[in-house]
Amino acid sequence: MTFTLGNYYPAASLLHKLDPRTKILASLLLMIVLFMINQPLPLAVFGLFLAVMIALSGVPFRLVLKSVKPVVFLAVFAWVLNVFTTPDEHYWFSWSFLHASPQGFWVGLRMAVRLFFLVMATQLCLTLTTTPLEMADGIERLLRPLARWGFPSHELAMMMSIALRFVPTLADETDKIMKAQSSRGADYDTGGAIARARGLVSVLIPLFVSALKRADELATAMEARCYRGGEGRTRLHVLRFGTRDGWAALSLTLVLAVLLVLEYTHL
């Protein structure tokens, strides 16, 4: 059974090849800037930049759009709320205590657009073009300086990596246990709430028991292979910034600068 976590889109584009740290930092910066810009022009420029990134990533546009789906409701809700709650000099129409204001319409629209951009940008930089493992690696490296103050960055990364490793295994196991219990008559989707909950318990308990046993055995196996924490450990694949990371950082800085200039000079 093959199992894909998140919605990574396998390809060999420029965006895929960037160091995960570059991408993590870039998405952070993009996020911050998105909170700072509000004018139509910088927003349009941001959209343009996003379009270029999508083109560079080789991810089909349809997939990027799909990633926005979960926030559509939120965006529409915020928009509608804005339309009816923003005070204005005149209203398009009023109904009881609700007043539809043109200004609210524009404020809400910009807010929705920013929300969409936010999700698209982070999805594009992170989940769509970066494997979970690269992410874990990147986060570890970024957090490593904090280890000096006792922050367990290595342990955190090891935990993430092991979790990723065992997702398919536990998924298989869940499937197996569910089948075994349903041949004993357990029910997960029909019957009353109590019957369903009982069916679920009959799956969850064995799953936890087995996960604990696996954890115990894995710990022994790791110890047998000389694992003793992050200290003195080398890595097979070491993250290295390449020239393309430099270029990416440079272009990103320029774009961000342009955006801020456009936002604050009121051209």
Binding site: M1, T2, F3, P132, L133, S161, I162, L164, R165, P168, T169, D172, E173, K176, I177, K179, A180, Q181, S182, S183, R184, G185, A186, D187, V201, S202, V203, I205, P206, V209, S210, K213, R214, D216, E217, L218, T220, A221, M222, E223, A224, R225, C226, Y227, R228, G232, R233, T234, R235, L236, H237, V238
Partner: protein, 622 residues
């Protein structure tokens, strides 16, 4: 220059109070309550030479895994000392060097893979040792090439088969440049083919790299490949010697619940009928055993008995309980990853029949049995179970009352607070009345030897074998007419295996129809009335064991393995025409051979001598 590599001196080990180390009970496969009482390892002294292949045999809970963990310092002896290459495991500064040089592979392939790609997992050990690039990369690619996994370097571990995962584990050890490889029942969860490849790999490591091999196992087929065998029982070292010497103690080993190679057991018991003993170690190989028998016995032709007709005609005529017609199944149909699991399978099973399904991993066995109780939806063809047509069943639970499925490693499905509740789960879900449930639970517990005193305990306190019996009872408590079992004895030691298979026999005698899925040809041949052989989703053969194993061409092509008893009997077919080689158990084979042999004069003289010797000792055969 064979020098001592590992020296175990008078070692005792007791797990600290079992309550705070659940692993103690789980790891030693010993029940929670037993684990407290005794030493897990009790005054063991053993020295292992550099480059030696030592097999440690013993039942589950005999302390053999603990011994392995003492060797690489995962546990420290309570008293005594373990020396590895001149270093004591108790010395803290040497422990990492000892663990590096004594790599260990464990039973469950899944639970020892740390990283998300094959290549990074191999690198895990050397990374921990602080090996730097480019040496690290070289070590990884060399290790992968050695075990033949280079093509999978970037694959996810979940894409590998069980055998490949164990190869990966071996590669992970090799990358640390070890001197010794400890295998803790490393093949017990694999199918026979993967077991063979792993053992071949291990032998190659011993020969080419001079690795010391310690193989903890209860598979005697592996133990005979070792240079030396040690047998453990309740933490003590009971026997030690060459495989030929150790396996000659047929009765002692059987009493310990261990297996003996068929080619040793058959001559031994045959000799016993004539009061003839063979000298120790003389029955080491099938060839030697054949020679010994031919020296001792005169073979004469006998009329062929009407071969024990295996197909009971009375059964064959009855109405079919299972009728599978032309079913095919494709996983992920329509996707590029589609995989054909079954192609045009048809067969029927009559009431009370003991029906076997045989095939290697990936042959479609599991897919097939999941069709029988509607866990998988029919894609094409038809399945009739009793009076139900699977396509038209409204309430699948009604059907499942009559046909129950026991999955591999069923102990993993236990969940209730008490053993009683777990066994009663099924009957309750099926809506039986409380009185019927009580009755059924008691009856089921009795059948599989679940002690009354366990019923109010938590199932998680039991040992592996005990849990399996509870899981089986949970299925039996629904009183199914048809029982489908997927490798019910997998991972158990020989005695545990025999016990479980014996319950099958009892149930079958009581009239339950049994469908047994296994890749163990010996077991299937011994137990089943008819066997269906699957190969890559297709029906290869269907017939009685005698019919199945008459297909020499398939045996030669490696699709089937000849059961060991039949293989041994075939050696005598030239000498005794009329010998029926279709005997699939030691007892049957001995009985069959006995008809054809008389003692030669020289052997008769020897028997007399042995008897006189015994009488002079006072008649005690100890």
């Amino acid at each position: 220059m064979p020098d001592t590599f590992i020296d175990i001196q008078e070692v005792c080990f007791a797990y600290p109070a079992a309550a705070d180390t659940p692993e103690a009970a789980a790891q030693s496969e010993q029940s929670f309550y037993e684990a407290e009482s005794a030493y897990a390892v009790d005054h063991i002294s053993l020295s292992i030479k550099r480059g030696e292949h030592l097999a440690i045999l013993g039942r589950n809970g005999s302390g053999k895994s603990t011994l392995a963990r003492l060797i690489n310092g995962l546990e420290l002896p309570t008293s005594g000392a373990v020396w590895v290459d001149g270093k004591s495991t108790a010395a803290e500064q040497d422990i990492w060097e000892i663990r590096r040089s004594c790599g260990m592979i464990f039973q469950n392939p899944d639970n020892q893979i740390v990283a998300t790609t094959v290549e990074e997992d191999v690198a895990f050990g050397p990374e921990n040792l602080g090996v730097k690039q480019p040496k690290l990369g070289q070590a990884v690619s060399q290790a992968l090439a050695y075990v033949g996994l280079s093509d999978y370097a970037h694959a996810a571990p979940s894409e590998l088969s069980g055998g490949q995962k164990q190869k990966l584990a071996i590669a992970g050890i090799l990358a640390m440049q070890p001197a010794c490889l400890i295998m803790d029942e490393a093949t017990s969860m694999l199918d026979p083919l993967s077991r063979q490849t792993i053992m071949q790999l291990v032998r190659r490591l011993q020969q080419e790299r001079g690795l010391t091999i310690i193989n903890i196992t209860h598979d005697m087929n592996e133990a005979v490949q070792a240079d030396r065998v040690a047998v453990m029982q309740q933490g003590r070292l009971l026997m030690e010697g060459s495989p030929a010497q150790v396996f000659h103690q047929v009765e002692t080993l059987r009493r310990l619940g261990l297996d003996v190679p068929v080619h040793t057991a058959i001559p031994f018991y045959l000799g016993q009928r004539f009061d003839l003993g063979f000298s120790s170690g003389s029955l080491a190989t099938p060839e030697a055993a054949e020679q010994q028998l031919k020296q001792a016995f005169q073979f004469q032709a006998q009329p062929q008995t009407a071969a024990v007709s295996p197909a009971q005609p009375a059964r064959a005529r009855a109405l079919d309980q299972i009728k599978v017609e032309d079913i095919s199944y494709v996983y992920q149909a329509g996707l590029p990853t589609a995989k054909r699991a079954l192609e045009h399978i048809s067969f029927t099973v009559s009431p009370g029949e003991f029906f076997g399904v045989m095939g290697h991993s990936g042959s479609g066995k599991s897919t097939l049995i999941q069709h029988l109780n509607g866990l998988l939806r029919l894609q094409s063809g038809a399945v009739h179970i009793l009076d139900y047509n699977l396509r038209q069943v409204k309430d699948i639970r009604q059907l499942r009352q009559h046909i129950q499925l026991l999955f591999q490693y069923p102990e993993h499905q236990l969940f209730a607070e008490t053993v009683w509740d777990d066994i009663a789960f099924g009957p309750r879900r099926m809506g039986f009345s409380e009185t019927v449930i009580t009755e059924n639970v008691k009856a089921a517990a009795r059948v599989v030897g679940v002690d009354q005193s366990w019923l109010q305990r938590s199932p998680f306190e039991l040992s592996g074998g005990e849990k399996r019996r509870v899981a089986l009872a949970g299925i039996l408590a629904m009183k199914p007419e048809i029982l489908v079992l997927d490798e019910p004895a997998a991972g158990l030691d020989p005695a545990g295996r025999e016990e479980i298979l014996n319950y099958m026999r009892i149930l079958s005698k009581a009239g339950t129809t049994i469908v047994l899925v296994s890749h163990n040809m010996d077991d299937l041949a011994r137990l089943c009335d008819r066997i269906l052989v699957l190969d890559h989703g297709q029906r290869l053969l269907l017939g009685t064991p005698a019919e199945i194993f008459a297909h020499q061409e398939l045996i030669a092509a490696g699709k089937l393995t000849l059961p060991a008893c039949k293989a041994f009997l075939q050696r005598f077919q030239a000498d005794c025409p009329g010998l029926n080689a279709d005997c699939f158990s030691v007892d049957a084979a001995v009985a069959e051979l006995e008809r054809f042999v008389t003692l030669k004069p020289a052997a008769r003289a020897r028997v007399r001598q042995q008897q006189e010797l015994q009488e002079r000792r006072g008649g005690t055969a100890l």
